[in-house]
């Protein structure tokens, strides 16, 4: 299967997506018949209260979780039918992840954390890897902190490192699960501004989740989830 999707032509198409969890003898539906189209270059917020299915939806788009039924297509490729090797490739080349808790590797410096995903990109030369890392570190305002370890950074700085790490492979889609949840409102807004700027300058699709109204309003499109269903998109 050809996973060479065009850089900014990776529209996401979701149809009849359902995710059920079995809790003992009870089946809990986290997502119910979700239909969703996300155009390339979008800046989309998946909003909803806790337990509404935001994280599950992002996890399924990121191939971290699998749906019970339904289809997920990116750039015309049905991701449910691709083998595991291709899912790894999809995650490393098409997607970038930003986590609520940053998930930086504590033993690595800022430079090394940003560079980490490029370990999988043999086709990129050492020089280009270095250039990309430095460029992104400058873009997220951490050029002076390249040798720092995550423990030496503030929460906002860590999330900036995570954003740079997500961007370093030049993915077309970035999934961010509550990227500002662990940050104060000022820092959260700064991070969101950074994401907006990247979205505008690079055309990278951002799909992020939040239940914070001040964050939601920054999105150009809000997909509201409630009890696993899309209320408004």
């Amino acid at each position: 299967m050809n996973m060479a999707m065009t850089r900014h032509g990776n529209g996401i198409r979701i149809r009849g997506l359902r995710k059920d969890y079995k809790l003992g003898s009870t089946i809990v539906s986290a997502l119910r018949d979700v239909d969703l189209d996300i155009e390339p270059g979008s800046f989309v917020c998946v909003a909803g209260p806790s337990g509404s299915g935001k994280t599950t939806l992002l996890n399924i788009i990121g191939l971290i979780d699998s749906p019970t039924s339904g289809s997920l297509t990116v750039a015309g490729v049905d991701l449910r039918s691709i083998p595991e090797r291709e899912t790894n490739r999809y995650r490393s080349r098409t997607l970038g992840f930003i986590f609520q808790t940053f998930n930086l590797l504590p033993v690595l410096t800022v430079y090394e954390n940003i560079r980490l995903p490029l370990l999988l990109h043999k086709e990129v030369s050492k020089e280009e890897k270095r250039d990309r890392v430095i460029e992104l570190a400058e873009a997220v305002g951490l050029a002076d902190h390249l040798e720092h370890k995550p423990a030496e950074l503030s929460g906002g700085q860590r999330q900036r490192v995570a954003i740079a790490r997500a961007l370093v492979t030049r993915p077309s889609i970035i999934l961010a699960d509550e990227p500002t949840a662990n940050l104060d409102s000022v820092t959260g807004n700064e991070v969101l501004e950074l994401m907006e700027g990247i979205n505008e300058s690079r055309g990278t699709t951002f799909v992020f989740s939040s239940h914070d109204p001040s964050i939601m309003q920054r999105a150009r499109r809000i997909v509201r989830l409630h009890d696993g269903r899309i209320e408004a998109a």
């Binding site: 971290i64 979780d65 808790t101």
Partner: protein, 420 residues
Amino acid sequence: MGRLGLCLKNLGRHGWRTRVILFIALFGAFLTFVSENIIEDISIKQSEMFGRSSVGHFRILNAGIETENTFGYYFYEPSEMLGPEAIASVKAFLATLPEVTGARERIVFNGVYYNDEDAERGFNGIAMDMADFDRDFTDLYYAKGARLASGEADACAASWYEYEQEKSVDIGSRYVFLLPNRNGEFVDRYLSVKGGIDFKTMPKETMGFNAMFFDLAGFRAAVGYDEPAASEVIGFLADSRTMGKVIPKIETFLAASHPELKVVSWREYAPIMSEMVIGFDAMMKAVETILIVICVLLVFKLTTFSIIERYSEIGTMRALGFTRTDIALQFALEGFLVIAAGAAAGCLLGAGLIALLHETGIRNSLTFFEYVIGHGFNPSLHADKISRVVAVFAAVAALSPLLPAIRGGRLSILKTLEKR
């Protein structure tokens, strides 16, 4: 920073666990390295030195002689001695065996001497060619007094070993000895004790002994042998470990040419020596095995802990596109590096110790074994043993973290990320 760099950085994060694995690997490799090389040296020395007089030889003698548990001092009838033709035939055959470095006839007998109080004391006697004594028994001779010359008929040498004052002689003194002739009849001779083999290097002029040595030609002349008979032909091995290969060849030859003769090794007439060697070897192997097993289990356990602690990291890396194999290799490589580093340090320490022993040896000792060690036991490094230790620890390093590493790679991304 590549994969290796990432592993090296991760090694520092586990503190005491890394150090425990490192130490166990170091200790295990050190002990294995030293014992493997020293055991090898002991095997060689058994052949080269004291061992040739105890474990690096075999004896061919009349099949009717009971030798089991006699420690080589057996009883026999004069008719059971080997005549000149049999001796020549056996020696000629032994000369064709590449493993055998020499063969010569000896007379093992029981004699009597009268001490200063004129009390009768029995002793074990060995008459052999003193010209070969140096080569076969190396430096375990004449620690006291003068050498016994080849062909010397009026002197003998004592092997001081047991400090029993009741069985003692003075160096340089003369005593009346009762020695058996070819017919088994005892004849009395007035002989001097010129010197002796001192197993313990004790500074005593008078000590107990466990055997008296005579020059073969001198002995025959002294007691009046009418033919150059001997009670046995003793054969020496270049390497005592070839015993198992040599004995069957000799048995085949004897069955065809001399059915009245048999070949016995020290395993039969001195089983305690065999048990000691086997026991020592088994003990060292057991210690090595236990250390290796502990090492494997610890690495297994600690790698598992490490994986549990790093669930979130595994999830993150998988989300970034790293495959299950990448994750498994990462943990396996980390485990490998710690064990390999510890084992390498252990081998280096072991090599250092052996080099030190090689240079210095152990001297001024009092016990028999220390004497043996101190007078020539300079262990050296053996390429095959080094290869063996390196191979064993490479296998330990590669295999022990493998299972938990594979398990780590198989973890679900979702579950590992949920642990954050």
